[in-house]
Amino acid sequence: MTGGMGPQALVPLLERALQKGTCDAVLLPMRTPRNDSYAFVLVRDPLLLQRSDPLPPVQTVTGGRALSSLTRHGGGGLRILAVMRPCETRGAIELAKLGQVDLKDVTLITMDCPGTVPLPMFARGELHPSGIDFSDQSIRPICQICDLSCAAVGDLHLGWGEGLAPVLLPGNERGSKVLQDLGLKADHDASEWSAAAGRRAQARREEREVRLGQLRTSTSGLDNLMVHLDSCINCHNCMRVCPVCYCRVCTFDLKRQERSANEVLDLAKTRGHLRMPMDTLMFHLGRMNHMSLNCVSCGACEDACPAGVPIAQVFAMVSDRTQRAFGYRAGMDRKQRPPLITFLEEELEGEDEQRC
């Protein structure tokens, strides 16, 4: 590995890939024209890469969504190098399994992610770092409990960190091929990095258990769960930004989901009281039901919530268990089919308690 210490080291490599024709285009986060935010941009001109920042301090639109708009249903046959965080990459992999991203011509490049700051604070200028390091305490709560922040899920993964020599690791043949095309060798001695990544993951895993355990206690039962959703304003932003929520129109936005006023009155009569509008809990439970098996804990939902609902953490709490029940971890194994679209005659029999 040559060049600088951090993810910026990827930039000359990407330039070379464009110049040598290893790929037709690069998809990666870039600073926006006013230099105050970041967006995914598809770049074909190597000169433009100067504005890029492979690992911005904030997550705006997630990489999976960006990739979906480029490759959905086959795309245009462009060979793309896509640079994104492990969670975004896992989102893209889930979308590929769901037929919404085509990875045929895409090489995914990931890197160790130290986390991002909350988007609302960043947007208001309350927290506006130009970069994040691994000791940063200002990262989002969902990042603080992310045990897959250094998961080498890309075809090519960059391991880095303070006091660490950066390593470039191919995850499969495609990654090796890119390295070879660029005249680079894989870093064979990654032991230092893998030890560091293992330590980071272990610390995060422990933190995750503790925090989600507390959340589980405080959200136990529908009434307590509702307390956490109290401020929800039914804007459905969490669904709109979710990388794995890909329906064209959400079931919960459909007319058919609405009850007539007569029905609502009827229910109010039976129950004595009704909270209006009625579908807050239904929406979140429904979305959990639909998406928790694909959730990659990217935190986009929580960033998008104008009411400060810790929705990403609630989802992490639920999806950890639902995914464990099916022996699935969203976005990790490209070959494993998502449980919701896999039919097995016998599954989950007898031992529900132990599994989740």
Partner: protein, 531 residues
Amino acid sequence: MKARVGIYVCECGNNISDQVDIAALIPILEDAPGVVKVMPFRLLCSKEGQDFLEAEIRQEGLTHLVVAACSPRQHLTTFMEVSKRGGLNPYLLQMANIREQCAWVTLDRKEATEKAARMIRAATARVVRQAPLPEREVAANPDLLIIGVGISGAAMVRTLAGPERRLYVVDRDVAVTEGPLSGMEGVELYGGWQLEAVRGFFGNFEVTLSSGDSKKEIKVGAVAICSGSRTMTLQEMDYPGWEDPGVVLLPPDLEALMPHLEGLPERPKVLFVHCAGREKVGYCSGTCCLRSFRAMRWLAEKVPAAQLACLYQDICVPGRKGEKEYQGILGAGVRMTWGRLTGLSSQGRRTAVSFLREDGSSGQETADLVVMVPATVPDPGAKVLMDIIGADAGSTGFVEEGHPMLEPMATSVRGIYVAGSASGPRNAEASMLSASAAAAQIDAELRPGETLRLEAQTSQVCEALCTGCRNCLNVCTYGAIVYDPVAQTCQVNEAICRGCGNCVAACPSGAISVKGATYQQILQEIREAVR
């Protein structure tokens, strides 16, 4: 138009009225939205009941009809016909099963009545959201493609051949062209040809046949798979020591055994080993015991000096003639030994057969000739056929029936039938029987000159909601869904769809619904049932 729903509650003799308080139901039902009439009747499926219903539809000007009676499996079609006679679209009828699901499942009259009320109100909430569906018909080609001319294929040709329909008969064996079926009226024989592609649907299939580089396109209304089965080889059974020259398979033609008996001692010991390969295939072929006993009888006559013995695990000789055959060989002194074959080996000029006894101890017998009675396995072509046709092959590799009891001659694809041992081990008699049954079913369902009624309650894709993920394609058993790359959405071919609803369940975006069972209908039905 404002809904005018009529609810008719059948007493079913005393079957329903004994457990359900019908008088108590009436005010609860009259209260439901859109209901203009609630009436009990002694027996709605009777002639009087049907005439009464028909008259009621007209007199009351009903827009929707709810019949609270038995299972729709029993009388849905009856009451759909009644609706039609009364001038009401038959899909504006909903049945509530208050017999099997209420009266017959509890002794508590109060509970049965309460549940009946909920179910009838739920049915009402559902039916008022139902739109009339057109009854669709399509012209059908009565011609038939028969794949394979074994016992069942030939039987089918003989049953169905005639001036009314053309029969295309395909077999990979060239010789069939000159066989006994040649020259029959309306029969075209294609020996040495095979199936390459099948497109279309029941009544209108387009088939490509191929033979080397030649191709031929034919059009048929239905396809009958008569591709048969074969017996397992020694190599496939793979018992240790199977290559021993003293081990042979029981041949279809018994005369073929004779050369193996040459050069054997004067009183040769011949051991028949039953259930050869059974554990490997995982089923009892059910036909081999009898075949083996007949072979023993034949051998006893041919070589009276032979000492016959049999190693068996179960004796399976069902039917009227099996037991007689079994007693016959016992009477003839065949020595029967229970044992599970574990291996074979040479012992001088003889062959040693090792086996496990019932108590787990091991035993051995030696014989001059070991005749293995092999399990029946699917023809390797069956899997290829199933892939081309898109029908289900079961875990055993045999063609899976549409339903073992209700549609034993059909497959998972409508218009593709199966007969003979293509769907499982069968002897000649059973193959003949199944060929006759399949021929009768084809003749009944595909009448020359008649149209086919298509399923009205098909599924439909809402293009605005479909994300084109194609999950539905994987679960459609009938091949009724296609992905349109231009629209980037999936679409249902309504001529093929049978309204099973698999795709509805598989669609993550809620973009698919079945006519007559829309989300709104089911939602309202459930809300009414649990309110």
